[in-house]
Symmetry: C2
């Protein structure tokens, strides 16, 4: 059974929990609160030198980092992974787009505006850039979604999960989706897919047993 | 035969040229100078709405964007792609790391300091952040390379090519690799691999024939 180290309110962590829910895969969950430094302990850094969540233990002592690489790994052989070579590459195209065009902007705005107390005042200089580039990324998505129901292979795949992670919190950090109707319709399509779970959803009792902080109950 | 739209001095474009050289795949090349706005023309935006190079035409009118997705696509079935599920995921882990930890920092510094005339003065505020985060990424790579010859699967893969793209120009944009001996040894290993080509290398005559600007000769 997988063991997932993740933070409840992190969009990158949520992506993996969402994928595991869609494919109904059991896993044990460990809550790591990066805001309390729990991803920077010697114990955690021994598992992931980058000091980031999510982190998946795929076998005894073998760890996989990077949310989108984890998505790719868990999706192999399921309906979340396209089958053909070109459709797989197109899914990856959108997942790389997510990591350099969406996550560093909407993800950063979400982190500092929605998670860190007083974060807005600390990041006034960066915020304009995040907003501009975040809106540019949303426009690229809007243009695609005007013509397609999903991002790759004509079905819900890991590309949608990767992009959903931070797009669905955009309105919690100053972005206005009013002028992106295709993006809003796609968000709804993802949410209406079987087995969808919200970011608030927590995995069941194993999570509590494995929680080193005692706060995930 | 593939048709590749790329910019000679772009690290992201070079990655693809390097992969195609390693696997000895023929392709036609079209030079797109983003500094002259050639990736923002209506014709190019119709091919790639993100307005970025590299872009690979994989079949008539079907285009794949994002350097690392292109690497993944062209490498399938060659020695550059690991075979096992976990090693493929580990290669992707490093490719996603490259796109959010290395390319936005060393890549950005390279673009503004080495390619754009007067760029240093335009980006004084951002430069400190790029340097700090770029060095942090190099340290993560150094720690891995102290124990491994390559980034995944114990052999040269697309993960190495992705990371080589901007690491090898780090010293052209203020980064000092003196305290990263494992990174420097790995750069040499990549350069000594059969069929390696430098960033200066240009594909042969087809490139000239297809060059819409006439400057690639």
């Amino acid at each position: 059974m997988y063991k997932l180290y993740s933070m409840q309110r992190s969009g990158n962590s949520y992506k993996v929990r969402l994928a595991l829910a869609f494919i109904d895969a059991p896993y044990r969950s460990v809550e790591i609160d990066i805001l309390r430094g729990e991803s920077r302990t010697p114990d955690f850094l021994a598992k992931n030198p980058s000091g980031q969540v999510p982190l998946l233990e795929v076998a005894d002592g073998r760890y996989l980092a990077e949310s989108n690489a984890i998505l790719w790994y868990v999706a192999i052989g399921t309906s979340l992974a396209p089958e053909s070579r070109i459709e797989r590459a197109e899914a990856l195209q959108w997942m790389f787009f997510e990591q350099h065009a969406l996550e560093p902007n909407i993800g950063a705005a979400y982190f500092w505006l929605a998670l860190v107390r007083g974060g807005r005042d600390l990041q006034t200089h960066a915020l304009d850039d995040w907003m501009e580039r975040g809106y540019a990324a949303l426009q690229v998505m809007e243009n695609h979604l005007k013509l397609h129901e999903f991002f790759a292979a004509g079905q819900l795949t890991v590309a949608d999960i990767a992009l959903y992670g931070y797009t669905h919190v955009a309105e919690k950090c100053d972005f206005d989706l009013a002028s992106f109707p295709a993006v809003r319709a796609w968000l709804k399509r993802v949410e209406l897919s079987p087995n969808f779970v919200s970011m608030d959803w927590r995995p069941a009792s194993d999570a509590v047993l494995d929680d080193p902080t005692g706060v995930a109950a």
